[in-house]
């Protein structure tokens, strides 16, 4: 059975991250836990862009995780959750980033909030979006690629509207692939 450790970082809403735990356990038939680490996210801030470098954050987490033996085969996969706006250097923004077939992923709900688009605050909708993106990034960690099916959490989303259109669940094909990858 897979193990997932959720890490709320910076000002991330701890209650919302805690609510993700049972959802992800069901999605991946895994055991999930919520952890805490002391980490100043400002070191990943790009002062020109006023955004946080997700690749640098992932690399940092991997380094720290490895130093405490977190990269062993039976160690949990790590999903950091942040409220900060993430980017990778070539792109204007990302909702999240993951090590494909690796151990660490990060997801941000900064751009998933209705308020950013001039709409009324909607915590229910926000949680749904975060849940879908958490499944998507963890899917990459478990080795899944983007899925052409719109009815799959692994379908690529570059706008919140795309996220709203897809479910939090994996399609049967990705689910089969996930089982195969888990056995391997």
């Amino acid at each position: 059975m897979s193990r997932i450790r959720l890490l709320p970082l910076g000002s991330a809403d701890r209650d919302m991250v805690a609510a993700l735990r049972p959802a992800l356990e069901a999605d991946f038939d895994a055991v999930a836990e919520v952890g805490e680490i002391d980490l100043d996210l400002d070191q990943f801030l790009d002062p020109r862009r006023l955004q946080y470098n997700s690749t640098a954050l992932i690399n940092h987490l991997q380094g720290r995780y490895a130093s405490i033996g977190g990269m062993r085969g039976d160690s949990p996969s790590l999903l950091a959750v942040v409220d900060e706006d993430l980017f990778i250097p070539i792109l204007t923004y990302v909702f999240g980033e993951a090590q494909l077939g690796g151990r660490v992923a990060v997801v941000s709900y900064h751009r998933l909030q209705n308020e950013r688009y001039g709409l009324p605050r909607d915590q229910g909708r926000l949680f749904e979006r975060l849940h879908k993106e958490a499944v998507h990034e963890l899917g990459h960690v478990f080795g899944l690629l983007h899925c052409p099916a719109r009815e799959c959490a692994m379908h690529i989303s570059t706008y919140v509207e795309d996220i709203d259109m897809k479910p939090a669940a994996l399609c049967p094909s990705c689910r089969r692939q996930l089982a195969t990858l888990a056995r391997a």
């Binding site: 690749t55 990778i88 250097p89 070539i90 792109l91 204007t92 923004y93 993951a98 494909l100 983007h146």
Partner: protein, 448 residues
């Protein structure tokens, strides 16, 4: 094309850009590789299998534009997208002029990148499909039914190849049935206009007004029965070739109209005033003596010089007897297939008769003769009696042609009248000028 079969090569001197984009495309399932400079990219290109390249414009050594030029020389099918740090119109124009599909500015909006790659790959796929279809069309188009290995036909085919590569007006001359239309088709099919129509107008088969309407089209109500606007053949040939068969038979008014449209490439439809433009190449054919028609004033001299730029003379079949056997076998195969008959060739007697006959109707007559023979042949071979040839065929045909008969008849009348031209012309029911032409044509001389 499956994403895993689609190779994307990222060329950027910044490691972080290479890593970010590689990761982005890998998550999408593409086959991705990266190169830190143009030289490394060119080495990777040697292995082949690349569909798309994302190339940073500013790199040490060879820059992105120069790399793009090199890529276009190596493999035109690779779609190249230029990445630039600053949006500059000059850079964009230069990149697009050099054949880049598009350019993107760093940092890239992920949604834009996603859609751009999707669009670029779709276009790549369409271009590949288009190229395959063009190759197929070219293959089919060059497969014409011109059969012949004689020196005369080899020379004709050499001329066809030479002139096809140009946009020059061609005049094809030859007796009826020698295959003038096939040669016109061969020129069109080997020319750059082959993807556009070859429009044939049989000028000899139409009256003056019908030909005018056929060539230039007409507006609604232009004449009784013109209920709709109709495009003419000249308009239909836009981009392609207009083949004017039996050009020597057109009336003087149409000659004038045709001269104007050849010179200006524009015209008006019958009953209309709008100017219509058409870009076409002219190939014409005739079995008439146009030079004589010009002398006689029945064919405009200026039009003659416009049309008679590059002439291809088709030899009559009797002048290339070496091709008769090959043509005959070609037609046997053609009709055996069409009629589902297992006829494979000719008896020696039948072949001898075919070779000995003069074929005044040329290849068309030969084809008709073999089609008829194939209808009546029951065995595996066409026999002599199946061929609808004159009883005298197989022996010399000297003196059997219409010209020979005419020559002998004129000679006889001239003798009877003591070479009185007026009386002879009256008996022959032709005018004196025509009689003089015929005397000159047959080289007749009054015996001392």
């Amino acid at each position: 094309m499956k994403k895993s079969d689609t190779g994307i090569l990222i060329v950027d001197d910044e490691l972080i850009v290479r890593e970010s984009l590689t990761k982005w495309f890998r998550e999408d399932g593409f086959r991705v590789d990266a190169a830190e400079n143009a030289a490394a990219a060119l080495r990777k290109l040697q292995g082949g299998g690349w569909t798309l390249m994302l190339v940073d414009i500013k790199m040490p050594g060879m820059d992105g534009i120069e790399l793009l030029q090199r890529v276009r020389e190596i493999d035109k099918s690779i779609t190249v997208i230029i990445i630039t740090a600053f949006a500059s119109v000059d850079t964009a124009v230069k990149a697009l002029k050099e054949g880049a599909y598009d350019y993107i500015t760093k940092p890239i909006d992920p949604d834009y990148l996603d859609h751009l790659i999707e669009k670029a790959l779709k276009q790549h796929e369409l271009l590949q499909e288009n190229q395959q279809l063009r190759d197929r069309v070219s293959e089919m188009a060059t497969d014409t039914e011109i059969v012949g290995e004689s020196a005369e036909m080899t020379k004709v085919m050499d001329l066809v190849r030479t002139v096809a590569a140009t946009d020059t007006t061609v005049m094809i001359r030859g007796e009826s049935g020698t295959g003038k239309e096939l040669v016109a088709r061969a020129i069109h099919n080997q020319s750059a206009r082959k993807y556009f129509p070859l429009v044939t107008v049989n000028c000899g088969a139409m009256t003056e007004t019908l030909l005018e309407s056929e060539l230039f089209g007409h507006e609604r109500g232009a004449f009784t029965g013109a209920q709709y606007r109709r495009k003419g053949k000249v308009e239909a040939a836009d981009g392609g070739t207009l083949f004017l068969d039996e050009i020597g038979n057109i009336d003087t008014k149409t000659q004038m109209d045709l001269l104007r449209v050849i010179e200006t490439k524009q015209f008006t439809r019958v009953g209309g005033s709008d100017i219509v433009h058409s870009d076409f190449r002219i190939i014409c054919a005739t079995n008439r003596d146009l030079e004589r028609a010009v002398k006689e004033g029945t064919f405009r001299e200026d039009l003659y010089y416009r049309l008679n730029v590059f002439t291809i003379e088709l030899p009559p079949l009797r002048a290339r007897r070496g091709d008769i056997a090959k043509l005959a076998h070609f037609f046997v195969e053609k009709y055996a297939l069409a009629m589902s008959k297992k006829v494979t060739g000719f008896t020696p007697e039948a072949m001898y008769a075919l070779k000995a006959y003069d074929w005044p109707g040329n290849v068309r007559e030969l084809e008709n003769a073999i089609e008829r023979a194939m209808v009546v042949t029951c065995g595996p071979m066409v026999e002599r009696e199946h061929l609808p040839l004159q009883a005298t065929s197989g022996t010399t045909s000297e003196g059997k042609r219409l010209d020979d008969v005419e020559q002998r008849h004129i000679e006889r009348i001239l003798k009877e009248t003591g070479w009185n031209i007026s009386r002879s012309a009256a008996i022959l029911d032709i005018d004196r000028v025509t009689l003089y032409h015929k005397i000159e044509k047959y080289g007749l001389k009054r015996e001392p």
